[in-house]
């Protein structure tokens, strides 16, 4: 009984300590942002890596998500004789919810895992120690540009996701299932408000922070050897994805 309580207590303490380290890491990263050097080239490089190189997978995912929404929405709305609302249903689902969440999940899988592996390999290869030994703050040099890169990229990718998804819904709804194009876009224009777009934008900004924060943290404090990096990469993807979905719920409940 005592050993059970001891083991539970140990786990709780380890979890709390881990969360504390993550918060300190985020604080240390954000605290470096206002001070020079600003490493604009590093930030642009990260926007290219996290953003530009994710465009293809985002477009592909968005197109099929929009098409599925078109199909499912059409068959559901037809039961109530409301096929004309398909444009609104597709656009609101994408802009408020699916666009930010699915974009963030795709970026986590494509770029977040790579961030963890890259930083992790730098850690086990003593490159981070090497930066420290030169008197260069590795958090400022490695983590801050990645955080800013993700904060810039994820909202832009989300915007692309939304537009392509709506086009996917349009192709299925209008071109395949015969919904009137004017009604499709007219209803969309009438129902989508700036507030919906702002909600999606706020979510995507928050998800950008979560991806960069979790993935770089896991790489920065990776375990020993190749196995340590592989475990860190897996746990970074899992934790980022879970935090995105949990964060989505709380943000939605606050923003609604």
């Amino acid at each position: 009984m005592v050993s059970l309580a001891e083991s539970i207590g140990k786990r709780v303490l380890l979890t709390v300590r881990g969360m504390g380290r993550m918060m300190i890491f985020l604080y240390a990263t954000v605290a470096t942002l206002p001070f020079p050097p600003y490493r604009v080239r590093g930030i642009v490089k990260q926007v290219h890596f996290i953003g530009m190189k994710s465009v293809f997978v985002i477009v592909l995912t968005a197109a099929f998500t929009g098409m599925v929404l078109g199909l499912q929405g059409y068959y559901t709305l037809r039961k109530f004789g409301s096929e004309g609302l398909l444009g609104s249903a597709v656009a609101l689902s994408l802009i408020r919810e699916l666009g930010p969440v699915l974009s963030a999940l795709m970026v986590t899988g494509r770029a977040g895992s790579a961030l963890t592996a890259e930083i992790g390999i730098m850690r086990i290869g003593e490159q981070i120690d090497s930066l420290e030994s030169m008197g260069i703050d590795p958090v400022k040099f490695l983590i801050s540009p990645r955080l800013l890169g993700a904060v810039v990229s994820v909202p832009l990718l989300t915007a692309i996701f939304d537009v392509v998804g709506i086009l996917g819904g349009y192709v299925v709804g209008v071109k395949l299932l015969g919904v009137n194009a004017g009604v499709f876009f007219g209803q969309m224009e009438a129902s989508v408000e700036w507030n919906d777009v702002a909600n999606g934008l706020i979510k995507s900004l928050a998800f950008g922070v979560i991806i960069a924060w979790v993935c770089t943290f896991k790489g920065y404090f990776t375990g020993r050897g190749a196995e340590g990096v592989s475990q860190s990469t897996t746990s970074a993807v899992v934790l980022s994805s879970v935090l995105i979905l949990v964060g989505d719920y709380f943000l939605t409940s606050v923003l609604l």
């Binding site: 490159q127 120690d129 090497s130 420290e132 030994s133 030169m134 008197g135 040099f141």
Partner: protein
């Protein structure tokens, strides 16, 4: 390596004058525990100025941990790490970064940045930590690369280099800022005997040209006695011998003798 001989025996250059004044680095009662194991157990050690000091010992004896304490990469739980009298274990991050500018460090695997070329790797500390113009940086980088015999390799990436070349690039990077102190974490481990000796010869030559203080972890026993002025023997987190190389060779400590001869019998039983 002897202070008395006018010419350095292994590299043939003129011996530098004997050091004067206080030791440049001093460890006072340093204790450090990692993963529940006492890695450094009350270490007291002086590193003399402008001399080559070698640290030897069994694997896991705490050599790398001790070296990392000297540059503040690891902070001790107890004790002091003094660099010219300043306890670097109590400094703030910003103050520590200033002290580190006096150091260059060569890590075990080289720790070169994979995404940068040889030239960019060597230029990196100059671009990041100095106000030098690109022309001056180029001049200095090419001169350091020439010094380590890698004139034509500046456009290559680390994964295109052999183990010996990686160490030489890392050495060029460690000394490109003209630091006062250079730390070497096993600069020759895993290299064949010819390349190993060429690296040791390069270190010795560079020392005689620039007069850096050098601290080097090595497993090259007994060769290292030839290439260093002082030898520190570390065992189970404690300094068991720290003296001029010629004295350590003749130490009466049975562990030191076992280490030098590589005997499988003696105070340490591994099997």
């Amino acid at each position: 390596m002897s202070d008395q001989s006018p010419i350095c025996e292994p590299c043939g250059l003129e011996t530098l004058p004997a050091p004067d004044g206080e030791p440049i680095i001093r460890l006072v009662n340093v204790e450090k525990t990692l993963d529940g194991k006492m890695v450094l157990d009350g270490v007291n050690l002086d590193i003399p100025r402008r001399r080559i000091t070698a640290i030897i010992g069994l694997s896991g004896a705490g050599k790398s941990v001790m070296l990392k304490h000297m540059i503040g990469l690891i902070r001790p739980e107890r004790g002091q790490v003094l660099v010219d009298g300043v306890d670097i274990s109590r400094l703030s991050r910003g103050e520590l970064y200033k002290v580190r500018r006096r150091f260059g460090m060569l890590f075990q695997g080289g720790a070169l940045f994979d995404s940068l070329t040889v030239y960019e790797n060597v230029a990196f500390p100059l671009r990041e930590k100095t106000e030098l113009g690109e022309g001056e940086i180029r001049e200095r980088v090419l001169s350091r690369l020439a010094q380590v015999g890698l004139e034509g390799a500046q456009g290559k990436f680390p994964d295109e280099l052999s183990g010996g070349m990686v160490r030489r690039v890392a050495f060029a990077r460690a000394m490109v800022t003209d630091p006062e102190i250079i730390l070497f974490d096993e600069p020759t481990t895993g290299l064949d005997p010819i390349i190993r000796n060429s690296i040791l010869n390069l270190i010795c030559h560079t020392y005689h040209q620039h007069g850096f203080t050098m601290v080097m972890i090595s497993h090259d026993i007994p060769e290292i006695f030839l290439w260093s002025h002082y030898v520190v023997v570390l065992h189970d987190g404690k300094v068991v011998e720290a003296a001029p190389a010629a004295e350590v060779v003749h130490s009466v400590n049975p562990f030191v003798q076992q280490l030098i001869r590589g005997d499988i019998t003696g105070p340490v039983h591994l099997m």
